[in-house]
Homo-oligomer: 148 residues x 2
Amino acid sequence: MNEDRIHENIVEIERHLRKIDYIIRKKGREIITEENITAPQFQALQILINNEEMTIGELSQKMALACSTITDLIDRMEKAELVLRRKSSKDKRVVIVEVLPRGHEILEKVLKKRRAYLRGKMADYQLEEMELLRGQLATLYEAIKNED
Amino acid sequence: MNEDRIHENIVEIERHLRKIDYIIRKKGREIITEENITAPQFQALQILINNEEMTIGELSQKMALACSTITDLIDRMEKAELVLRRKSSKDKRVVIVEVLPRGHEILEKVLKKRRAYLRGKMADYQLEEMELLRGQLATLYEAIKNED
């Protein structure tokens, strides 16, 4: 009995997460395009900014893409002056990818637009409802963040 | 004052949604790969199953991809016996994409695995907490589902 209710909840949670994800991604693609970067470039920027002194190999692992694909991606991002390859300050033999000011700026711009979009959609929310949702999402994130 | 709290909530909600999305997508890619289909094929299957008698043009609009890209995608999906092009029963001049039993099966298999993954991650949730989260996600989905 309880099992049925748990199953039903899981089905609905998975379905809603998938649909919310789909809508936000579609909107996100529009915003990213306005800033003249591609979705993989945006994803790479986020990862590089959240992790210091990353190598191409580490980035390729995080993004679950081949090293050669990441090399091409970083080449294009270097041309667009979003990132720069340089020697690690900790170990001169290691080459890391540094995010340039333009990269930080574009990430911040995209996040601002995403927030403005979400805020517009959530115009009818009371502050208390927002806080409840925020707490729920934080809990879910804590539950799923560790790799299997 | 209230404005600051609203802003802070929006920042955190956007951030958590983005991070949850990232983790579930990464897991989702693994599951999809096990079933020998690609991410765009999975997305197309979902859209075609949720909307009856779709044309290539309609699918391309929904996926925000060029018609030529969708044509290639459907060609590969036809070869994999996931879908079939056929004349619409409503209007013989219109060609629509039909999902074959194998397409339905694979979608169901992928969704089952996603649910099992989520259920495992949410093992510590009480039923009441699950229901609260489900309600919150349903409300958020209702808020964002309409196009601008």
